[in-house]
């Protein structure tokens, strides 16, 4: 029985879309001959040729700008950042150009910007970051964060077909750890809509709202707490922009206690934004304080012990849930 990994799903989605639509091209450092630093694009240049699989110099601002220009001229480029940390170098192109073109001229920029995010693999402060909030804060960019194999495929396909820039954040720790049987993937929808959250576990005492690799931390915590008669519901946001407020508010209306969980650092994180929405729009539904479980406000540490202390762990979620349950 063959299995499909999270990485393979990303790869397959890009492959399918390149076969389906010849306007789709791929740019980035070492994406061609070398097949990408994580081998996401292995075999692509042999299949699609150097016209469509373009190895670029080490200049994120340069190749992102090229991709935007190509998009203006009718192509639908996918830009790979070797590590998402390097997206900082393309910040100006993305925030001042890609994000604003539709507002300025009605010109959509159908590009997908993708790259490996997150920590937990001992890669240190420059290869482990979660930069989503820079872009969540910039109107004009959609931000998706797949956590499952089916979503890795479905959100990539939707992102490529979207008429506006989409930041597609893939968690490097999930690449080869998360897999499903090929047949199971077969039955799932191929295009996952951008902007729709998914409820991954039903519960009635506390709802944990999270995204990305933290989904698995939340699910494990739910297992632990099930033994203590605390039933967690787990929502996987899947998209940060647009945000599925409807799903969040519906769950808060039912469950009344909320934990917000993310791997990103605390201040100005997604949790704060969601907490504000809940307090503004569902104040009367709250039966306790909204708790955040997040990384602290520091760079990602290199030392294994420190990195583990930095990234939210199952015990952190369990502790918060017990506290909230007793409130």
């Amino acid at each position: 029985m063959s299995e499909v990994t999270y990485l393979e799903a990303i790869r397959q989605a890009m492959w399918d879309e390149m076969e389906r639509d010849e306007r789709v091209v791929l740019l980035g450092e070492d994406v061609g001959l070398y097949g990408g630093a994580f081998k996401v694009t292995a075999g692509f240049v042999e299949k699609f040729g150097t016209q469509r699989i373009i190895d670029t110099p080490i200049s994120e601002e340069g190749f992102t700008g090229v991709a935007i220009g190509a998009a203006f001229n009718g192509l639908r480029p996918i830009v790979e950042f070797q590590f998402i940390d390097f997206i900082a170098n393309a910040f100006n192109m993305i925030t001042n150009f890609a994000a604003k073109s539709r507002y300025r001229w009605g010109a959509g920029v159908p590009i997908v910007m993708r790259g490996p995010t997150g920590g937990g693999v001992r890669a240190g402060p420059f290869h482990s970051q979660n930069p989503e909030m820079h872009f969540v804060h910039t109107p004009g960019i959609k931000v998706v964060v797949p956590a499952t194999v089916a979503d890795a495929r479905g959100l990539m396909k939707s992102a490529i077909r979207d008429e506006d820039p989409v930041l597609y954040l893939e968690h490097k720790k999930l690449y080869r750890h998360i897999k499903v049987a090929a047949e199971e993937l077969e039955g799932q929808e191929e295009l996952v809509p951008i902007g729709k959250a998914a409820i991954r576990r039903r519960g009635k005492h506390i709802v944990v709202i999270t995204y990305g690799a933290m989904l698995y931390t939340a699910l494990e915590a739910a297992e632990v707490l099930a033994g203590e008669s605390i039933e967690l519901e787990v929502i996987d946001l899947r998209s940060l922009v647009p945000l599925d407020k409807e799903c969040i508010l519906e769950a808060v209306g039912r469950i009344n206690k909320v934990i917000l969980l993310h791997e990103d650092t605390r201040t100005g994180g997604m949790a704060g934004e969601i907490a504000a929405i809940i307090v503004e729009e569902a104040f009367d539904d709250l039966d306790g304080p909204i708790l955040r479980v997040t990384a602290p406000d520091t760079p990602v540490p290199f030392a294994a012990s420190l990195e583990d202390a930095f990234i939210p762990q199952v015990e952190d979620v369990v502790r918060a849930a017990r506290e909230l349950s007793a409130y």
């Binding site: 039955g187 929808e189 009344n256 009367d284 539904d285 039966d287 306790g288 007793a326 409130y327």
Partner: protein
């Protein structure tokens, strides 16, 4: 001083009803803060304050219906003391305890006031926003409850336990607030093309408001001779939706010269195809019905006979380039016609999806105003209760509507033998002002031919 006016929430909307004021005269409002709630034929919506200031007058009370662009309140200037007392009979009475927050309308079973807000009487009592809401809804005094949360806090659980206990039965029940009616079917775009835009001062961007008078109303009931109700009859006001349907039906009858032609089609092939494709579509999460087949056949025929996809504007014929297909959906106490825009640009799967989607959202009242507007041709389905066919009324300003009867197996003559075939009656009502009988029948023959000889791939 800034007037608050009744905005126009859609191209054919002539009036709106104030359903709730969130503020009292004398209250301060921020710009864009929700000020009141209105209900129109198409949507219920909140109206934000156009400017910041003191709400100095409320000119239209809750429950009253006025034409669009009517001044319904004023922000700024002198506070007008003669604020009408609360609202009409048996409705909303605001609770003073919560100060500046929005008044909570209550309908109490008996005239004795509900118990005072617990947080006012028990300053030290700890609870949560949810618990206070639940207490309000159930008319509970929180001080009667024992809190089991941290520091004796009253929790949701405590309320649930209390409500389940016998002592709860003594608590004063407070009836829930009556739900406001939601989406209602489209009213006709009437005759006048939008004249000059009277730009209203309210914030949401609105389509140009026709300065012309609202659509012609049916003759006043005084004209009808016998009295409608007698002694023991129960009389109740029509819902907004009912009123709107009533007006629309009458206007359509008065506008168009209705003629109905009925055809019979053999859809055995489509029945077989649908049974075969159903499980495959299900894998894509689409429940395959017959409707998309009829929509697809009609779309092709409309392209051959564009006069059926037209409107009349005075003495001019308007040929619509868009093919926006309305699908009549029955609702409890009424019906609504959501529109699939640019239906001709969709794949078969896309059509099937769209048909289910608008149907589902029509039933759950989640349609946007734009989704019940702009139709160029309508399908309706009088079949589900066993009717053979109906003679539908045209959805103005369109010129034709197709009624699809139930699909039934019938013995029919095929090559001088008798065969059992799946048959359907199709009834087309068309506007004889524009479409003559011959054209109507040619159109129907085309639809029939396409249904019977279905040769399109649907997968």
């Amino acid at each position: 001083m800034t007037d608050i006016i009744m905005p126009q929430m859609g191209e054919s909307i002539a009036e709106g009803t104030v359903t709730k004021w969130y503020k009292k005269v004398g209250d301060h409002v921020e710009r864009d803060e929700p000020l009141l709630e209105i209900s129109t034929d198409k949507v219920d919506t909140e109206i934000p304050a156009p400017v910041a200031g003191i709400l100095s007058a409320i000119k239209v009370q809750e429950g009253e219906t006025v034409e669009i662009n009517t001044v319904i309140g004023v922000i700024g200037g002198e506070v007008q003391k003669e604020e009408a007392p609360a609202a009409p009979s048996g409705e909303a009475e605001s609770t003073p305890a919560s100060g500046a927050t929005q008044p909570i309308p209550r309908v109490t079973a008996d005239p004795t006031p509900a118990s005072p807000e617990p947080e006012a009487s028990e300053p030290g009592l700890r609870s949560s926003p949810l618990v206070r809401k639940m207490a309000r809804e159930h008319g509970l005094d929180l001080s009667q409850l024992t809190g089991t949360g941290r520091g004796g806090r009253v929790t949701k659980h405590d309320i649930e336990n209390f409500l389940a206990s016998p002592s709860a039965a003594e608590a004063t029940p407070v009836a829930p607030v009556a739900p406001t009616p939601a989406a209602t079917p489209p009213t006709p775009a009437a005759t006048p093309p939008p004249a000059e835009a009277a730009s209203p001062a309210t914030p949401p961007p609105l389509p140009p408001a026709p300065t012309a008078s609202p659509p012609p109303l049916p003759p006043s009931p005084a004209a009808s001779p016998p009295p409608a109700s007698q002694g023991r009859d129960k009389v109740e006001p029509m819902s907004k939706m009912r009123k709107s349907i009533a007006e629309h039906m009458l206007i359509s009858r008065q506008t168009s010269a209705h003629v109905t032609t009925v055809f019979e089609a053999d859809v055995s092939r489509i029945v077989a195809l649908r049974n075969e494709a159903k499980p495959i579509f299900e894998r894509d999460g689409v429940r395959l019905t017959y409707t998309p087949f009829f929509v697809a056949a009609v779309l092709r025929a409309l392209k051959t006979f564009p006069l059926l996809n037209a409107s009349i504007d005075g003495d001019k014929i308007v040929y619509h380039r868009d093919h926006n297909i309305g699908i009549a959906v029955a609702l409890e106490g009424g019906l609504i016609v959501p529109v699939i825009h640019d239906a001709d640009e969709k794949s078969f799967l896309g059509l099937a999806r769209a048909v289910n989607d608008v149907g589902e959202r029509a039933r759950t009242k989640k349609l946007m105003p734009a989704e019940v507007q702009g139709g160029t041709f309508t399908l309706t389905n009088p079949g589900p209760f066993g009717g053979l066919f109906g003679t539908p009324i045209i959805n103005q300003p369109q010129v034709a509507i197709l009624g699809i009867g139930g699909i039934h197996k019938r013995p029919v003559v095929v090559n001088d033998g008798i065969a059992v075939r799946s048959m359907v009656y199709l009834a087309l009502s068309f506007d004889h002002r524009l479409i003559d009988g011959a054209l109507g029948d040619q159109f129907m023959a085309d639809v029939k031919r396409r249904l019977e000889g279905w040769d399109e791939k649907i997968l």
